[in-house]
């Protein structure tokens, strides 16, 4: 017990989780925006946009996140000199957010697409019969219902994103949980199981509310038909 108190006073464990939560929230924001744009491209009447969005999704679904993160740091930053900030820590943070957002946007797009499938054909037909064009029927009729129908897959994507934020370690974000855990284990090898359980239960505690909220919201928001 004494050992744990010492560990907590020596290392900023809640701070590390905070870094992961920040990574998750920023990436969730950007990937949601990018995902909606991709979705609009994917369902648009213009076939070249459809092809581009389809290719983007296919690319990121078949590409390991780790290689994207490594690429952000060693390729985009070290070789192409892509920088967000002069301080290293901030720069790596935003590089990691970029990588996570690009990766997650593909999954957001797929989740929203499964939500579009819950909208009955009649809704789209009614919108067209009213004379709405593609943008109008998409933004006023289809997408609002699609969002409500895709709460469950979007929640799953958010949970996956929170877990994936640990991969920021590959993008040299040294303050997040997996790096901190590695460091703590290195210096306190005899309480290795305890250290692992601290972090593991931290994630369980973070993820259970998201899962429960997703289930409640998806039942509450689903359009009853």
């Amino acid at each position: 017990m004494n050992e744990f108190v010492q560990l907590f006073s020596q290392y900023n464990v809640p701070g590390a989780f905070l870094v992961n939560i920040e990574l998750t929230l920023w990436s969730a924001l950007f990937s949601l925006i990018l995902g909606v744009i991709l979705l609009m491209m994917r369902i648009s009447p213009i076939s070249s946009l459809r092809a581009v969005a389809g290719g983007y999704v296919e690319f990121f679904k078949n590409m390991p996140l780790t290689i994207i993160m490594v690429f952000m740091v060693l390729g985009a930053f070290a070789q192409l000199k892509l920088t967000f900030s002069d301080t290293f820590a901030t720069n790596f943070f935003w590089l990691a957010v970029t990588g996570l957002s690009l990766y997650t946007a593909a999954f957001v797009c797929e989740s929203l697409r499964s939500g579009i499938n819950t909208v009955p054909l009649g809704q789209a037909e009614a919108a067209r019969a009213l004379g709405l064009n593609f943008m109008q029927s998409a933004t006023h009729v289809i997408l609002p219902q699609a969002f409500r129908g895709s709460v469950a897959p979007l929640g799953n994507t958010l949970i996956a994103l929170l877990k994936n934020s640990t991969v920021a370690a590959a993008a040299s974000v040294a303050t997040e949980t997996s790096s901190l855990m590695s460091e703590m284990i290195e210096f306190h090898a005899n309480s290795i199981v305890g250290i692992f359980l601290i972090f593991a239960f931290g994630y369980v505690i973070l993820i259970i509310p998201i899962g429960a909220l997703t289930t409640v919201l998806s039942n509450k928001l689903a359009v009853r038909r």
Partner: protein, 386 residues
């Protein structure tokens, strides 16, 4: 022109000549924008700010020549595949054990398997890997990184497979279980000899999709110094200072292998459907969110709309309501309250109809005499609408 069969065609009318012209113009503009972006990226690569020309053959040659393949990429790919294959075999075993554990009649076994599966699903794979890596190194086990990668992947993906087994059994028609019970098998025998074997066929396509996830996640091993494809390409890149180029090559290899596996997973369901009464699904929709049986149902229901997109009769039974079965008692608690199954009368939800009684605005002048003649209702309506 044939109609598109994807959901896009729902959102807009089949374009006429004018619309087609506009779409053609938009296509050209779109292609132009993509071309401009590609050219901009190439220019940036050609002449990055205070860096060297990234398109130089001097940088690409060491990333592509035969030595790079024989000494770095292929051994790395072999390590990646070695870890992925063992992890898949292990996670299927793990999934079968704990998936069946969650279905057994014994409450204690169910609870323990449930806690283990939910725990393994919630903890990031990288955490498991780092923990096992350090643990095995301290224990003095050889090739600690390899076993850490394999074990980390087994725990996470095994718990995913466990959920697939559970949903596969949940989706079997109730007759399977009823027939085996009628033959005198016990609940456990029916589960092990009749239901789970069919659930395994139903989940195989999803397990292949999971193989893609496993393969992608082996790349996490490079963080714990496992010499997989990604790690080898980084090593090669740091020798010639061309990490960008070697990462591109490694990325292409990953993409090709994963895309081939995805194609296999799309092709497999039709084969597997012949061997099971449950729907063989290509995608593992159950897993990620914790305690989320209803999510499966929602996505399954969402996909049904796809099937009868063009004027089919709407499906009477939803994908997850296939009759009574082993686990339906638990699945029903979280069922998606959209439709009902007529084979389970208690799942029926009667729409509440409030038909208010017609107000009797004025006393009927000759009510008594007409009550028996059968046209009472019509006459009454007629009177009141006057």
């Amino acid at each position: 022109m044939a109609r598109n069969t994807n959901e896009s065609s729902v959102l807009f009318d089949e374009p006429g000549p004018k619309g087609k012209r506009r779409i053609r113009i938009a296509n050209w503009i779109g292609a132009l924008v993509v071309a401009v972006v590609v050219v901009l990226i190439l220019m940036r690569l050609h002449n990055p700010p205070d860096g060297e020309n990234q398109l130089d053959w001097q940088l690409w040659k060491p990333a592509l020549d035969s030595e790079a393949w024989t000494d770095f990429y292929l051994p790395g790919l072999w390590m990646t595949l070695k870890a992925a294959v063992l992890a898949v075999v292990g996670s299927v075993l793990f999934g079968l054990i704990f998936g069946i554990g969650r279905l057994l009649p014994n409450v204690a076994v169910r609870a323990v398997s449930g806690v283990i599966v939910e725990f393994c699903r919630a903890v990031p794979v990288l955490m498991f890997m780092i923990f096992f890596w350090r643990f095995f190194s301290f224990a003095g086990i050889e090739s600690a990184a390899y076993w850490a990668v394999v074990l980390g992947l087994i725990l996470y993906n095994g718990s995913v497979v466990a959920e697939l087994v559970r949903s596969g059994v949940g989706n079997l028609p109730g007759g399977q279980r009823e027939a085996s019970l009628a033959l005198g098998l016990t609940t456990t025998q029916s589960l092990m000899q009749v239901e789970v074997p069919q659930a395994v066929y139903a989940m195989l396509p999803a397990a292949v999709t999971q193989l893609v996830v496993v393969l992608k996640d082996t790349a996490l091993g490079s963080i714990i110094m496992y010499t997989d494809l990604l790690q080898e390409s980084r090593r090669l890149g740091s020798m010639y200072f061309n990490i960008l180029q070697t990462l591109v090559v490694a990325g292409v290899v990953y993409f090709i292998v994963c895309a081939l596996l995805s194609k296999l997973a799309e092709w497999l369901p039709s084969r597997m459907q012949q061997r099971t009464a449950a729907p063989a699904e290509p995608e593992p929709v159950a897993p990620i969110a914790i305690m989320d049986a209803s999510n499966v149902n929602q996505i399954a229901v969402a996909k049904e709309v796809d099937e009868d997109r063009y004027g089919g009769v709407p499906r009477q039974y939803h994908a997850h309501h296939r009759g009574t079965n082993a686990s339906v008692r638990h699945w029903r608690q979280t069922r998606y309250e959209q439709g009902y199954d007529s084979t389970q009368p208690d799942s029926e939800r009667q729409p509440e109809r409030h038909v208010p009684p017609l107000p009797n605005l004025r006393p009927h002048p000759h009510g008594e005499g007409h009550k028996a003649d059968g046209h009472n209702g019509e006459r009454k309506d007629g009177h009141q609408s006057e």
